[in-house]
């Protein structure tokens, strides 16, 4: 067993363990921290695959941004120290079904996909190439998803402002 | 003008910060301005002022004689009950009985160095010493007897 496989399994364990703990943790703040570990593991996986740019973006966006945001909102809800309430039976069932369904889709996708090595030379994942690809309007360009994602983020931003606005005190 | 005010603020702020840094920078580069006294090392040269009130002492002369008549004026003057004078009756050569001090007990741990006992003393028997290193390991050591053993009252002091 080579070092690289060992590292892969360690990363996988961090990702999966973090994910499972995030779901099962009793306290919501701890959940957020376990989620952080899971996301860190994913960033590590990107590093492992030599996608440094994606890894750094993963850290900036998910760890520096999303998790901090989540922690902030946890702080602001004032119940961060208490154990979370047990979910209702109905929602447990629904989410279990959803999880099983998603799992099934992923497994079937993996099973049915024939992993054939491409004959095209791979594009080097440098910043320059990623930037070109991201903003190109040609056939395999990502300008449309890119813009859609930014619209989504804008909507999320406005939404969070609306939620954060203090409701007017009823006199 | 908004922009003028904006940049004016920035200019003034940076200037004031640099002026402040100049002060600290000056002292950083002028180490002769350092005022620290290295206390236990300079013991030999460290001289306290004459009037500095360190502790109450009772001076004795070469013949082991002090000036305290045991009048207890200091004991009354002390606001904290620091001083306790224990007297005894002593028979002089001419057969007269006289009040003499047996022990001049001074509780340094109670003393606030207010100097009132020294002012109150009619015969200048006690003075303030300049010693300030009073730390001891046992509080009992702070209870002092100021008159030396077998000391006598100085002739002519009544």
């Amino acid at each position: 067993m080579s070092a690289s496989i060992v590292i892969f399994y360690i990363l996988a364990a961090i990702i999966l363990g973090g994910g499972i703990l995030a779901v099962t943790a009793k306290k919501i703040f701890r959940s957020a921290i376990y989620l952080l570990f899971s996301l860190m593991g994913i960033a590590g996986l990107y590093f492992y695959l030599n996608y440094e740019f994606i890894a750094a973006v993963q850290i900036v966006v998910y760890i520096g941004g999303i998790v901090v945001l989540i922690i902030f909102s946890i702080f602001l809800t004032h119940a961060s120290g208490k154990d979370m309430e047990k979910p209702k039976l109905m929602s447990v069932i629904v989410s279990a079904v959803a999880a099983v369904f998603a799992c099934a889709i992923v497994i079937s996708l993996i099973n049915n996909y024939s992993f054939v090595a491409t004959t095209n030379t791979a594009i080097e994942p440098t910043v320059k190439n990623i930037g070109r690809q991201m903003l190109s309007t040609t056939e395999h360009g990502f300008i449309l998803p890119f813009e859609v994602v930014s619209m989504l983020l804008l909507a999320a931003l406005i939404g969070s402002i609306v939620i954060a606005l203090k409701p007017k005190t009823e006199a | 003008m908004f922009l003028k005010e904006y940049f004016g603020t920035i200019y003034k702020s940076i200037k004031s910060l640099l002026v402040g840094m100049k002060v600290t920078g000056y002292y950083f580069t002028h180490l002769d301005e350092i005022k620290t006294e290295e206390y236990p090392d300079n013991r030999a040269t460290l001289k306290m002022f004459d009037r500095f009130r360190g502790e109450v002492v009772m001076p004795h002369d070469d013949n082991n004689e002090h000036r305290c008549t045991g009048c207890q004026a200091c004991e009354i003057a002390c606001p904290n009950g620091t001083i306790k004078i224990i007297t005894k009756q002593e028979i002089l050569e001419d057969g007269k009985k006289k009040k003499r001090i047996d022990a001049f007990v001074y509780h340094l741990d109670l003393c606030t160095m207010c100097n009132l006992c020294v002012v109150a003393c009619p015969s200048d028997a006690i003075v303030m010493a300049q010693n300030f290193e009073h730390s001891v390991y046992d509080k009992k050591q702070l209870k002092k007897i100021l008159n030396q053993p077998d000391s006598k009252l100085m002739q002519g002091v009544e």
Binding site: - | S13, V23, L116, V119
Partner: protein, 374 residues
Amino acid sequence: MRGLIEDDYVTDEGEFVINIGPQHPSTHGVLHLKVWLDGETVKKVQPHLGFIHRSIEKMSESLSYRNFIFATSRMDYLAAHINNEACALTVEKGLQLEVPDRAKYIRTILAELTRLQSHLLWWGCTGLDLGAVTPFFYAFREREYIMEIMEETCGARLTQNFMVPGGVMYDIHPNFQKRTKEVLIQIKSKFQEYDNIMTGNVIFENRTKGVGFLSKEDAISYGVTGPTARASGVSCDIRKLIPYSAYDQVQFDEILGTGGDCYARYMIRMHEMKQSVSIIEQLIDNIPEGEFQAKTKNVIKLPKGEFYQRVETPRGELGVFIVSDGAASPYRIKYRSPGFSNLSALPLMAKGGKIGDLVAIMSTIDLVIPDIDR
């Protein structure tokens, strides 16, 4: 009382109660402030006192008129000399004793030196409270010179107890005048440096300007005195209004501010230091010859009656109220300490500010906790 305390812990949704003190770096002693917060914003402050109460007033009732003075050194330990002076003046008032001019001059000079060192320490501590550590050491350098003068003449650095009813305990030390003049030159040369490192600093200005506003009306109704009140425009300098000791012999200005905020209070004290320097300069060369102490009886007994004397300490007006029944020790003593009244205005000033503002306000009203609790 019990009900009141229980009510304190009832909080609204979203309120956050923190206890600042009794052990806290910026309360300058054992003051306990209970602070209701909304995020960082202070909604309400409630000072809790009494952690260092030593019942100096009650203690003084069993001491003779000569002795009770020493206890006041422990009240406002940064202005021990002025506290002592207040007591001595009250006793002299009761005895209708005329104090020799020389004693008056010495008292005034020492009082102004005390004010200078107290303000210097306050200046350093204000820097410390706002997060700048270095000014503290610069202030202490100059303060050290003044302490040496005190030590040489009075025999002690902080709790001088140099005052006796009728004058001062000893004559001044032969070096006193020379040394004082040297120190004044030294201090005057450093005022510019103080301005450079603190007063003009943009962060300091932002931290203090418009923070902790106290209106003139509030200052009067809360009984605030001293530089804190003068910053709000209340003329309350006892040295000017009811001159005692040698203050009628000197020219000086009562500094009045208008801002009522922390910056105004800061500037008042900075200017007061310059005024103190000028007062000492006017007096130091003109100390009249003569006795330094009026003759008093061995046991001082005040006539039956009530006597009140006010003096201006660095923090404000200190009043000493003595009720005498004709015995050798006072029947009742009451000190009207400046810190207590000044602190009472803190909840008003701190409301609506941030925690950082609370610290700035506390340091600019110059709290000395033993003075508040006595």
